[in-house]
């Protein structure tokens, strides 16, 4: 029971954080077909900017300013980099972002140093919100959940209720049609890329102080974001949302299972002494998303809720 409650609580907060990070990539990927390898680098930039801004002013200013700055950088990257590469096809675009991830990491190292920076949870939120079974649930995590839900509602409102949102939505599913209708597609692309990066930046602001803000944080987070986007399905923010929660819960719940393969498959004669038998479910938790990724791609390439295949 305890494990279940903990698993659910953490799964949801971690899942929502993942969603914040991956919603931007879903937007970018669905509309532009660019699997942005540098997406997690923008997440890292968000955390570092928040560190700088909250150091000189306050966390609350950073919460708004850092994502905006990251979004502007993202827009500039699209305008002066990606757009140039676009005619060479998706592979070239993907490789561009791949190189960009290297570049951002090295620049961050020069500017902020190679080790982690001291980016802390704001004092206002640095207390235990409530206790379950002796473990305290930090108020800041609660705040993360609130911000993520607020972001979800904001995004939903933007996409479903505003004119710009309708155009973006149309561009998500039918990018060519939007161009024919006389909209400025490059401008839309730049905006979406910027917004997507800003969302990643926001996730960085929120997560940088829970985890460690160091130059390796982008590499650590990068692959899992792809998993969310692909498992969720192209063009589907709902899918990304579900996938984030699924992966968050999967990872957190699996940690709580103390069984080894031998315990589970003992009935078919798997021995505790064999290497396969010794593998523990909880130690498998972090690789489960990748297993999910491969299985989804093989058996349901459109993802959980996507409309088209990759």
């Amino acid at each position: 029971m305890e494990t279940l409650v903990f698993g659910l609580l953490n799964g949801v907060s971690y899942g929502l954080l993942l969603f914040m990070l991956s919603s931007g990539l879903t937007l970018i990927f669905s509309m532009m077909g660019v699997l942005n390898f540098a997406h997690a680098s923008f997440y890292m930039l968000g955390a570092y900017f928040a560190f700088t801004i909250s150091g000189s002013s306050s966390f609350w200013i950073a919460l708004f300013l850092a994502p905006v700055l990251v979004g502007l950088i993202g827009a500039a990257v699209e305008r002066y980099g990606l757009r140039r590469v676009h005619p060479n096809g998706h592979v070239a675009e993907l490789l561009f972002t791949f190189g960009l991830a290297y570049l951002i990491e090295e620049v961050v190292k020069i500017v902020y140093g190679k080790t982690s920076v001291d980016y802390r949870v704001p004092d206002l939120l640095n207390f235990a919100a409530f206790e379950v079974y002796g473990a305290s649930f930090p108020a800041y995590r609660l705040f993360v959940i609130v911000i993520a839900i607020a972001m979800l509602i904001g995004l939903w409102y933007l996409l479903k209720k505003t004119r710009a949102g309708l155009i973006i939505q149309a561009a998500l599913s039918h990018p060519h049609m939007v161009g024919h209708l006389g909209h400025n597609v490059p401008l839309i692309f730049m905006t979406v890329f910027g917004i997507g990066c800003a969302l990643a930046g926001l996730a960085g602001v929120m997560a940088g102080n829970i985890f460690v803000t160091d130059p390796a944080m982008a590499i650590q987070m990068g692959p899992i974001v792809f998993v969310v986007v692909v498992v969720g399905g192209i063009g589907s923010l709902e899918g990304a949302f579900v996938a984030s929660l699924v992966i968050g819960l999967l990872q957190n719940l699996a940690v709580g299972i103390n069984a080894s393969f031998a315990d589970i498959f003992g009935f078919i004669g798997l021995s505790e002494l064999s290497e396969v038998g010794r593998i523990n479910i909880s130690s498998l938790a972090p690789v489960l998303p990748f297993l999910l990724l491969v299985l989804i791609l093989i058996f349901r390439p459109q993802g959980l809720m996507g409309e088209k295949e990759l």
């Binding site: 190679k114 080790t115 982690s116 460690v212 709580g256 909880s282």
Partner: protein, 411 residues
């Protein structure tokens, strides 16, 4: 910092080169990460070697010869290390130093063995200053390899010995990385605890995948709900930082006994929450009582390399022992130096260190310390630093472990 032509070193050596123009240089190769994610870890040690070499040179060198330490970036990759090893030999290095990563150390021990077998007369010695897998001075021991750091079982002996004195610790939780090293740490802890404190219950023995966990909260909550009074972990790198950070955040305030709590950035990322919680075991702590000379050294290091703290005390042990051995042998050739090193004893700032001849494993007192806000020297450029805990001094013979090494010595 240009790695091979460090300006600082060049300045220091060129001044002396004039006075000892016909002296030879003893080339030592530092093969460890100097770029990429593990770069800082390598650089902290590299800077220590540079300063130690500079001091030796300023005092007339070894037998009149100057030492030149050159960095080779191995990117913590075994294959790249072997390549850099060949480069170092080409550049005339007969001594290599490495410490980051047991996989790299294992590859280098193997490579040094093969090189020395295939190139008699051109031998190379390997000074391991931080790779702690016990096997290197047990079943995998080699005449060409000397370890200047306590290995994992010795560190665990120090931790368990301290726990022995803590009557209020009644249950312990073990958490580690799921690979050879993490498994070895866990089994050493189990074995030693059952011997020293049979009444302690091990309430959890968790292995998590290496470097893959982003959020340790679920693990922490398992720890909390297990009701453990202390946690032992051999985690290093991001796994160490994320683990302790999640612990602090979720209100797990029991002692965390770590091997690598002293690594850079760990204390600052926790902040005040680290106080009284984060423990480490090491061969030296800057806030121990020491002589003025040692304090001056700590301060000089900090001034020269403001990004880092005086952490690799054992680097000075490496260099001091090497100097003494070369002077006793009257030569800087690897075989005489190796023979002189066997059984050698030196006095260093925090005690006596002996290089055990049977397995080339250094034996020395170890210290269990905890983060405190009441210290002379802080770390990570904040006010917090490491302070010895009560009963924290572990005598040399307590930490000493038997060895299964059957060393083959050259002719």
């Amino acid at each position: 910092m240009t790695l091979r032509k460090t300006a600082i070193l060049a300045a220091a050596t060129s001044a002396l080169a004039m006075s000892a123009a016909n002296a030879d240089t003893i080339k030592m190769a530092f093969i460890d990460p100097l770029s990429g994610p593990f770069g800082p870890s390598g650089e902290a040690a590299y800077t220590s070697y540079l300063l130690a070499a500079e001091h030796i040179n300023a005092n007339g060198g070894i037998n009149g010869d100057m030492i030149e330490v050159t960095g080779y970036d191995n990117k913590v990759n075994p294959k790249e290390s072997l390549l850099q090893f060949q480069k170092a030999i080409d550049d005339g290095a007969r001594y290599i130093m490495q410490g980051n990563g047991s996989s790299v150390a294992a590859a280098l021990i193997d490579a040094v063995d093969k090189h020395n077998k295939r190139n008699p007369g051109d031998e190379v010695l390997f000074f391991n200053y931080a790779a702690v897998t016990p096997a290197f001075t047990n079943e995998l021991c080699s005449f060409w390899h000397f370890r200047f750091d306590a290995h994992a079982d010795m560190k665990m002996a120090a931790i368990t010995d301290w726990i022995k004195t803590q009557d209020d610790i009644k249950s312990v939780y073990l958490i580690g990385q799921d690979y050879v090293f993490g498994q070895a740490v866990a089994s050493a802890a189990e074995g030693q605890l059952s011997e020293k404190r049979p009444d302690i219950e091990i309430v959890g023995n968790e292995l998590h995948p290496l470097g893959k966990v982003k959020d340790f909260t679920p693990y922490i909550q398992k720890i909390i709900s297990s009701g453990a009074d202390a946690v032992i972990t051999g985690n290093w790198g991001a796994d160490m930082q994320l683990l302790t950070k999640a612990a602090a955040e979720n209100g797990s305030d029991v002692p965390y006994l770590t091997f690598y709590g002293g690594s850079k950035g760990a204390v600052s990322s926790l902040g005040d929450q680290a106080v009284g919680m984060l423990h480490q075991v090491s061969e030296g702590v800057t806030n121990l009582e020491a002589n003025e000379e040692q304090y001056a050294l700590i301060e000089e290091y900090k001034e020269r390399f403001p990004d880092y703290d005086y952490y690799y005390h054992r680097v000075w042990n490496v260099m001091d022992m090497f100097k003494k051995a070369a002077e006793e042998a009257g030569s800087a050739d690897p075989i005489p130096v190796a023979k002189a090193l066997e059984g050698m004893t030196i006095e260093h700032a925090y005690g006596t260190a002996t290089m055990r001849a049977s397995d080339h494993q250094i034996q020395q007192p170890l210290f269990v310390s905890v983060v405190s806000d009441d210290v002379k020297y802080g770390v990570d450029n904040i006010d917090l630093g490491w302070k010895l805990v009560d009963n924290g001094t572990i005598a040399m013979d307590v930490a000493e472990q038997p060895t299964t090494c059957e060393m083959e010595r050259p002719g």
